[in-house]
Symmetry: C2
Subunit: 182 residues, 2 copies
């Protein structure tokens, strides 16, 4: 996992639409470490995190397609992004080009609970520690807002991924439950 | 469970502060059924449901105290109510007096997911079908907003309560997971 070395920096403020609680535009960069075996370092490929909500929904759809998620109406995706407490995106930046390679969002009451949804890393970038870096970024943001209880619903194949980050399943017998309209 | 008979009626619009998606003030009444063995029907005790957010926080604290929940700062409770997608309360109404006897709220992205928190019925009113009626009211409201996935985290002793309403635990192996700041 030493391929990507994480450090944090704050980028210029970016005008974000529909931003509620994260007015400031903080970005964390994960770049090539000096001694990494990456592409030519002259290319300066960097990984940048953002809470900007002004995403290209087609680019997001492409990312979700890449991991095989079923399509959702863009109108509803737009609404969900507007009404999420936190929208986190991860970008590969090379010169003035950027590519969306990761995404996660959280709903919240802004006080006690947050629930993380739609965590995804593009297959080309998986298993490099970037999913963990994205989740760390999300947790850092939620913690900075005094949220004391961060929850999520994990598909069976990613329970261990979240467990490795300190998430516990069914603590004290608490059960995640679902209801679908009928 | 035949003690309370449920029917729905729409009350006058009530000015609500900080209402986001539930502008209309809909109330559902659960009153004594004509053939119930209730208190003198001249007293006209009714159960009323509301999505009004303008709650007396001390009254809400009293309700939560009654079921032994640990106290939470009222400042944060206020914020959580403001930023919940749905706030449902249940009242016993007798003449022009009303008493808060039940509460539930939900966070949501207003599009796909809602998560129900803080479901409570006052001990004096438990085991009469009112918890179920309150949950039905909440689900009806969420369904009317096109939410397709309603979730919650159930304490072990209430898993069966939610199951009786059609909630499933760990469907297809999906696990509810928690992370606490450290
Ligand atoms: C799940 C996902 C976000 C993980 O991202 P990633 O960048 O591949 O993960 P990382 O490289 O940061 O892995 C972090 C740790 O979790 C482990 N891990 C990664 N994916 C895992 C998986 N599917 N199951 C178990 N462990 C996993 C890694 O081994 C690593 O452990 P380590 O740090 O001890 O070596 C990514 O695989 C993905 O987008 N999957 C498809 C979409 C999806 O299923 N999302 C979750 C929906 S609930
Ligand atoms: C859980 C709670 C909201 C239920 O409200 P209630 O008004 O007592 O429930 P109802 O009378 O509507 O019961 C509905 C059904 O669930 C069952 N039920 C009620 N409480 C139950 C419990 N604790 N465990 C299992 N089943 C339960 C009833 O038997 C009934 O089943 P039936 O319709 O098949 O007869 C209430 O007991 C309460 O506030 N408890 C304390 C707070 C709490 O624990 N909240 C949940 C946090 S996750």
């Amino acid at each position: 996992m030493g391929f990507w070395k994480t450090w944090f920096s704050t980028s210029e403020s970016v005008t974000t639409s529909k931003t509620t609680s994260f007015e400031e535009q903080t970005a964390a960069s994960v770049g090539d470490s000096p001694n990494s075996v990456s592409e030519a370092s002259s290319k300066e490929a960097r990984i940048v995190f953002s809470t900007e909500r002004d995403l290209d929904l087609y680019e997001l759809e492409e990312l979700c397609d890449a991991v095989g998620w079923s399509r959702r109406p863009l109108r509803k995706v737009k609404k969900a992004i507007e009404h999420s407490f936190l929208v986190a995106s991860m970008w590969q930046v090379r010169g003035n080009q950027r590519r969306l390679i990761g995404f996660a969002r959280a709903t919240s009451d802004h006080a006690f609970n947050a629930t993380i949804w739609d965590v995804v890393v593009h297959p080309d970038f998986q298993s490099k520690g970037l999913g963990k870096a994205l989740m760390k970024y999300v947790l850092k943001k939620l913690r900075s807002e005094e949220i004391s209880n961060v929850t999520l619903f994990a598909d069976p194949h990613v329970v261990d991924f979240y467990r490795s980050m300190g998430f516990m399943s069914d603590p004290e017998g608490i059960k995640g439950m679902f209801w679908y309209p009928h």
